[in-house]
Symmetry: C2
Subunit: 518 residues, 2 copies
């Protein structure tokens, strides 16, 4: 057993079942160990950002820790944008980054760089394994760090010679049980203070996010809200929301500060549950960082690492909330989409045909506004958005979600600009036979940037404004999909979209539909 | 005039003429300033690694500093792999990274991350502009840092509100002249010591790299070598080599340690000129970091930042080298390629048809072995390789090279695996009408990793070894190219390749030829 075998074995014992990988020379011992152990499912990506985004999606859907295998500093850097998203969405991810052999590294070979510095851009825990004896313990520590005290990204840097070195006979491996998140109990005083505030409030709001947008969190937040006459509002980009008839469907916080302020202004008390204090996504001019009205009291009863589900349960108990909630979306007769192809009709078409238990990954950017409301009342599904805001997350997250959720259809709803950061995802989908339908919102521009440029007083025509325009030449997603081994088609009206959706949902494996509009 | 206008104006005065960009919301003032100033040429990339690689290629070919516009930490991270290559190849590149508005950043909005930490993975100089008054001076300092004392990567982080703020009336802009590299004169004692060593040597070697592989460096190294009966050897992956009949064509150092040692073993003195002491690319087993034979004396007369061209000239003077060198490649009757499609015949076909003054960018990985020798004796051209070793540099560097070298054909010779990290380059080539011919070596595998895996004792079949295989599904580069707006075709024999090359070289604009073999 060598160091790489010990890594795989200890990590598997700690709960890792899959490895999203884009390896290089310094990871060959790990590749070989995965082959021999047959314990982990290896999933190859053509680009590291696909691997890290897939790990995020896998972690959200499975609730398990995902591993990512990366090649040195540049490989880790390529993975970082989606690791940022994983960090912000509290997805537990462990990176295994190979490094140069210890006796070569001091001589600064060409591919050497400061891996730990790059890791600090996305990881809360970074360690370079220093000795072979420590390696399997570092493997377990990485999994634990990814889970606790709050889920996030842990990076373990593994010199190639330590991966290759044989463990001595009689070496005692760590006796890991699958790592579990550290669950910190709610603080009774904080619970009591929160209840006091809720009871004093004229118009309290529960601002719910993080891991609390799942079914259990949503039900308990609704029960609590009904007991104290509060409103429930989701954060802007929730990580994983259960939606189905019989469950309530809270609004999300608006993206632009003026929208968010309009939603928050009426509330004199805001109880933050898993979401973090509401803050603008970007700052404009001499605006304020506060979104709540002056004098609004904000309390975060799960601050300090308390488990937000336990906090919600304790609050429900403290106010004697009823077991059953009243608020619920009923089964809705969804409108038949009609008219020209545009985000509204595209979303209605998706909602109408949505397969039971689908997972919808939303990276539609300016085309997203219509999606969440259109899906209200659709067949039961999960909805995923990107809190971190780093572009290029949609197709990788959908890939990892599909790895975790065999038998469920995954829908990636993605802007054309966004899709092109990490479109290599399609190839992994084809390779793994994943049931992913990628829907491209092809408006031939960075529409959000044209909006922002106009806001900044700029013109959207001319040589610089060119930097927001994608139509010269127009991107052909049908060909791009075929290039990656995925059937693709372009639709230009709602009826063609309906046909394409029907066919995609009925056909196992991936496909892509490019909606040309705008 | 706002901060962004001042940035563009001061940077232009310091010598920047082009900006490779993938902007976001926090860069809109810069986008607007570029539009209004009309001073810089903006070049849009769909992915940041294309922008940074293009900057590297532009810098190599033009000799000028390139700027790159990036969105926050994730954008910088996506650019980092090719910034690593720029750093190792001594290409002067300035990054402008927008950051959140200063009054929002302390509230940790979703897209906030440690930008400076990420920058340290590739940049020798990192600064966050703290005040509006300082901004234009920071702009000039960034250009100077990118050039001196040795060319490399400088990163300037620019909060959005400082970009947008108006400079006070009467503000005095820095009066920058175009920045130039600091040229440190050779140390006479070092020159004398080097000459002594060369004269004592039985079999001296000049190991040439960095900026010294251009025409001037090559000529002077050859004159010096002829005066002292030395041999000239290039580093493994030279940044920019002039090749033409009438110039000598030194061998390159071998990639694998055993090859390199065979080339170096006969030499008792090695004079390092711009290349750095030879070091293995990767360390294998319990091998040594040294490539020279025991007892070989290594001297680096340009160490400490002396200008390598000046050192070469001083050495030539000190040994009274003749003005004209003898060694030269003559015009060679290149072989007519024949037989099945394989790297050897592909490279012969390229060499035979090579347009005058072409620029050849080599990222063929295992298929590269044949390229440099095959081009010996071909029409005059420049040859570019990647010292940093980070994958995905070929198509972006070719893009930037073509921006710098209007009227010259650029050939990107790229492995299939490598091409897929940054294939979005093709779109920028189409958009800008760049004369780039991309030749894909499509063997459906990470061949170098299969070699490395076997070396590590692993099997190249089975679930883990799957991580080195690209044929399931096979990638269709013809479709991928079309998707990005570039004409593409697949060839399967030498005569089809000849036709495709002829057509590509005769047609303005980009095209792609996928060579399916293996």
């Amino acid at each position: 057993m060598n160091g790489a075998d010990a890594l795989i074995s200890a990590s598997h014992a700690a709960g890792i079942e899959v490895c999203f990988a884009n390896p290089g020379t310094t990871e060959m011992a790990m590749v070989d160990a995965i082959t021999r152990s047959k314990k982990l499912r290896p999933v190859l990506a053509l680009f590291e950002g696909v691997a890290s985004g897939a790990a995020d999606g896998y972690a959200r859907v499975s609730g398990k820790v995902a591993s990512v295998m990366l090649h040195l500093g540049p490989g880790l850097a390529n993975a970082t944008a989606n690791l940022h998203n994983a960090r912000r969405s509290q997805s537990p991810v462990v990176n295994w980054v190979g490094d140069h052999t210890t006796w070569l590294l001091p001589h600064d070979p060409p591919l050497a760089s400061d891996i730990a510095a790059i890791a600090r851009g996305s990881s809360k825990w970074v360690r370079t394994t220093g000795t072979l004896a420590q390696l399997p313990f570092d493997a377990v520590a990485a999994v634990e760090a990814a889970l606790s005290p709050e889920p996030g990204v842990a990076t373990l840097i593994l010199p190639a010679d330590l991966q290759e070195a044989a463990l001595p006979a009689g070496y005692l491996m760590p006796t890991a049980l699958p790592a579990r998140p550290l669950v910190r109990a709610p603080n009774p005083e904080t619970i009591a203070a929160t209840v006091r505030l809720l009871r004093e409030a004229k118009s309290p709001l529960l601002f719910v996010g993080g891991t609390a947008t799942d079914r259990k969190g949503l039900v308990d937040a609704t029960r609590l809200a009904e007991a104290v006459s509060a409103k429930v509002l989701f954060e802007q980009f929730p990580r994983y929301v259960r939606r189905e008839p019989g469950l309530p469907s809270p609004e999300k916080l608006g993206y632009l500060p003026f929208q968010a302020r309009a939603q928050l202004s009426a509330h004199d008390v805001v109880v933050v549950l898993g979401a973090g204090t509401p803050v603008p996504f970007f700052g404009y001019g001499n605006d304020s960082p506060s979104l709540t009205a002056e004098g609004t009291r904000v309390i975060e009863p799960a601050a300090g690492g308390a488990d937000v589900h336990a906090v919600l349960a304790a609050l429900c108990d403290a106010v004697s909330a009823k077991a059953a909630h009243q608020a619920a979306v009923g089964t809705v007769e969804l409108p038949e989409p009609d008219g020209p192809l545009q985000p509204q009709s595209i979303c209605q078409a998706i909602a109408k045909q949505l397969p039971e238990n689908a997972i919808v990954v939303d990276e539609g950017i300016t085309s997203s506004l219509a999606l969440y409301p259109a899906l209200t009342g659709a067949r039961p599904h999960d909805y995923i958005a990107c809190k971190g805001g780093s572009i290029g997350y949609g197709t990788p997250v959908a890939t990892g979600a599909a790895v975790a959720a065999r038998g469920r259809r995954v829908i990636a709803y993605v802007g054309d600009g966004s899709a092109l950061y990490t479109l290599q995802s399609l190839w992994t989908q084809a390779r793994e036979g994943l049931d992913v339908t990628t829907i491209i919102l092809a408006n031939d521009k960075y529409a959000v940037l044209q909006m922002e440029l106009m806001r900044a007083g700029g013109a959207i025509e001319g040589p610089g404004a060119d930097l927001t325009e994608l139509g010269r030449p127009s991107l052909d997603f049908e060909h791009l999909a075929k290039g990656y081994g995925v059937p693709g088609r372009t639709v230009r009206d709602v009826s063609a979209l309906n046909v394409a959706l029907r066919q995609s949902f009925a056909t196992p494996g991936p496909s892509l539909i490019s909606c040309a509009f705008g």
